[in-house]
């Protein structure tokens, strides 16, 4: 949810969806994303939709859970009135911001609202993002006993100088502790890492990945640092205070991570995500790549139901106003035509390991397959058995692969 909102059509104030959104819904999973737009401090690289206490302009962290619950309840009514069949939530994801900046009870209340509105599917995945310094054993225990199954810690790096450049406030020593507590509470653990921070060396990165592996989480994400316009980091780079990391070096970081993770028994299942086995993949994230349905709750949150995408107003204060007035918080929406949906399908599915079935591609896209094998961008064996599976080189050039597959 970084940067500006997309340009789209105006969203109706009652939030009702066109009839097309309901078509085929029963065959799609349904998930809920709950955005928590608060942070104690803003990190220099971050352009996510999040606010510190001083930036809230009259909105209050204290009121937030109540507003989110109102949106959840309204969402239930809107889906029903739009003729979308009832579905239990297969995944629930609390993201931010820093969801764990709210009291555990707020998160529990919000999850309860999801459960009472749609119900949770058997074995549902319920995740929250967390900062290592914003949780303790009791907090994690409270979440686990209330139905959370998974926690994703924003570890980012194990190297203090790198964390300092990122302006992350946690002490790296705390990571083993919180992982231990989460595990004792019965939660699945994922660690998020960032590579390519200005000043970070390959040796620094190796330290971070090895440190993460030593905690034995069931899931690890590694994202390259993107310098977004408008962030403090972008200004520092523009002023020459920090040196940007070029894409070739980032590629080396990625390859090192992939080597270390593979060696430690993790398998990639999406360009930036690795898991110990299939059952520990992030099902919520996979739903995005597979164009499933989800409702995004909260300021700036994005939703997708049956080819309709929409996004909420960004600021918590504007969001609060809409919710209090009983209006939909959506700021804009777009209804995808068939061609656009097909384009998104290729764009998104190519990134995951199972990839896209070759026979579902257009004629010109299919014609690219041999060339992609020759260029060592996709796996030959997978292609022979009918699907596109990116090689490691291909993962690093995934956007280029997608452009070729979308030749027509």
């Amino acid at each position: 949810m970084g940067g500006a909102l997309p340009l789209g059509d105006p969203a109706p104030s009652d939030g009702l969806l066109p009839a097309s959104a309901a078509v085929g819904a029963s065959a799609r999973d349904f998930g809920v994303y709950l955005h928590v737009p608060f942070c104690r401090v803003r990190c220099g690289y971050c352009d996510f939709n999040t606010y510190t206490a001083t930036e809230l302009r009259g909105a209050s962290q204290h009121d937030y859970a109540g507003q989110a619950i109102s949106e959840v309840e309204a969402a239930g009514r809107i889906l029903e009135r739009s003729g979308v069949p009832d579905r239990e939530a297969a995944t629930v994801f609390f993201g931010g911001g820093t969801p764990t900046l709210l009291p555990a009870d707020d998160l529990v209340r919000m999850l309860r609202a999801v459960r009472s509105t749609w119900g949770l599917a058997p074995g549902a995945e319920v995740t929250t993002e967390a900062n290592p310094d914003s949780v303790d054993a009791a907090y994690l225990g409270r979440l686990a006993e209330s139905g959370f199954t998974r926690v994703s810690f924003g570890m980012q790096s194990a190297v203090p100088s790198v964390l300092a450049t990122l302006e992350r406030t946690h002490d790296p020593e705390r990571v083993p502790l919180v992982v231990q507590w989460a595990r004792e509470a019965g939660l699945d653990v994922s660690l998020d890492l960032i590579y390519g921070t200005p000043g970070e060396t390959l040796a620094n990165w190796r330290t971070s990945v090895e440190h993460a592996i030593r905690q034995a989480p069931s899931h690890i994400s590694a994202y390259s640092l993107i310098v977004e316009e408008g962030t403090k980091l972008a200004r520092q780079i523009r002023r020459g205070e920090l040196a940007p990391v070029d894409d070739d070096v980032q590629a080396e970081f990625y390859e090192l991570a992939d080597d270390l993770l593979t060696e430690a028994g993790y398998g990639w299942y999406e360009v930036s995500n690795w898991a110990t086995d299939d059952t520990h993949r992030s099902r919520h994230n996979l739903a995005y790549w597979r164009s499933q349905d989800w409702w995004g709750v909260g300021p700036g949150a994005h939703s997708h139901i049956g080819g309709v995408r929409w996004w909420n107003v960004k600021h918590p204060s504007a969001y609060g106003d809409r919710i209090r007035a009983g209006d939909s918080p959506a700021a804009g929406r777009e209804t995808l035509d068939t061609a656009t949906q097909e384009m998104e399908r290729v764009l998104l599915l190519t990134r995951i390991r199972e990839g896209i079935p070759i026979d579902s591609l257009g004629a010109l896209g299919r014609r690219e397959v041999a060339g992609l094998i020759a260029d060592q961008l996709i796996d030959a064996r997978a292609a022979l058995s009918g699907s596109i599976e990116l090689t490691r080189r291909g993962r690093l050039l995934a956007d280029a692969v997608v452009r070729r597959l979308l030749a027509d």
């Binding site: 993201g95 993107i226 989800w294």
Partner: protein
Amino acid sequence: MSPRPLTALEPAATPPEFIRNFCIIAHIDHGKSTLADRMLQITGIVDDRSMRAQYLDRMDIERERGITIKSQAVRMPWELDGQTYALNMIDTPGHVDFTYEVSRSLAACEGAILLVDAAQGIEAQTLANLYLALENDLTIIPVLNKIDLPAADPDKYAKELASLIGGSPDDVLRVSGKTGVGVAELLDRATRLIPAPEGDPAAPARAMIFDSVYDSYRGVVTYVRMIDGKLNPREKIQMMSTRATHEILEIGVTSPEPTNSKGLGVGEVGYLITGVKDVRQSKVGDTVTTALRPATVALPGYTEPKPMVFSGLYPIDGSDYPALREALDKLKLSDASLVYEPETSVALGFGFRCGFLGLLHLEIITERLDREFGLDLITTAPSVIYEVTTDDKKTVTVTNPSEFPNGKIAKVEEPIVKAAILAPKDYVGVIMELCQSRRGTLLGMDYLGEDRVEIRYTMPLGEIVFDFFDNLKSRTAGYGSLDYEPIGSQEADLVKVDILLQGEQVDAFSAIVHRDKAYDYGVLMTGRLRKLIPRQQFDVPIQAAIGARIIARESISAIRKDVLAKCYGGDISRKRKLLEKQKEGKKRMKMVGRVEVPQEAFIAALSGDEPPKKK
């Protein structure tokens, strides 16, 4: 000063002894058009109220650049010692590319005013035209212009002129076209000194075409100088080169607006309109006679215009191709020397191979295409005509590197020119260095006055068309001037250098160069392209080759990462829009084999610009 005559002499009824035909030889910027303006005023044919600057220059482009591309003739009355005369001022193009046109204009005159800027002295092109005028036995009247300028040094340049054409520095008239000082005296002197035209009024009509202009309302307007006999309205005329006949719809003189007359007699200068629509039917240098009583011998000196310099013109936006064709078709109506044929290039798409008289001609055409037709064009490096003989004794005429035969070459002939460069003496060293580096052979060197030198070289034309003039200007702080004339051809060790992207030849970059320069060219172009072509998913070697032999090599390493790591909290729209943008960008790419090259990269490489590579 003579008074303005009260009545002008009637065309078709003016005895030759009262006619004076002259032209003005001057360098660009030396004030020819301004002087002509004063003459129009002082002879009373344009009143002060309707005067506008550079009255005779019809095309905007001429007025803006201060140069005259198309000549015209103006008939002005003048009185001297109680006798009224008809003065015909024939304007001449000032540039070397139009030497042939200049020579025809000169052939229409008996005298020439040699006009030189009193602050700058004579320039190489003026000198070249002066030689032509002397060859045509014209009476030369030397004049220094712009004497009102603070920087004027008339004493110095009067000496320079006197040393060139003989006579005393005191014979050099001093005028200011701007203020009018000395202009009447100049007209008096022209009337007195320039001989009257001679011809046989009873002989079959012969008129020489010295210019031919396309007018969108009236069709082709043909400017002629009568030599023998007479031409009359409604008469059937015949072009002696083609035997084509036309009827005269209108005949007259320009004074300064076109004015119908009862015909044109011996020694007179005027225009004909026959309704033809293409200047190729009314060729400069051709002889006009009457169909009823045709002359048997044409006037000497006629030649077909021959393009010397060739270049590919491509629309930057491929969809402009039909518009470019239309524009060239239109320009051709008014420019008999412009030739073109369709051409395709892997790198640049569809375009035209065009032949020009020289570099200025090329520049004028491309500028007109831009200005009058709004076309955004890319021009490939200019080339000249090579005669290539292969080992099996076949001779191929090559105007485009792509026509250069593969395989064993027995010999290559290239056109050579005699180049004259004028510059202050301090620049002799750098000029000689430049000419030497362009395979020039020194012919001689002369001082003009105290501090200016004329340096003469024979040089391959191919070396001159390749940014020689820009180099000359920059090395001489803008003082160096250049003139050249073709003098034949020579055998030279020339090779074709190809530029290959991943083994695929990029046609627009092939060049015919001397073997000693092949390596430099290869290094230059491969280096430029390496900086300009974005990285691909694979390594891209860029090579320069002569035949199969690689002489220079650069490489663009494969891009290693091209993926957005994350999708932000389900914001798929943002990611998709990025992809759409990338796909849009790809559409503007030209494919050379498998290599995607932005059109801008080709353009920048051809023009030598090196913008920073976009990520």
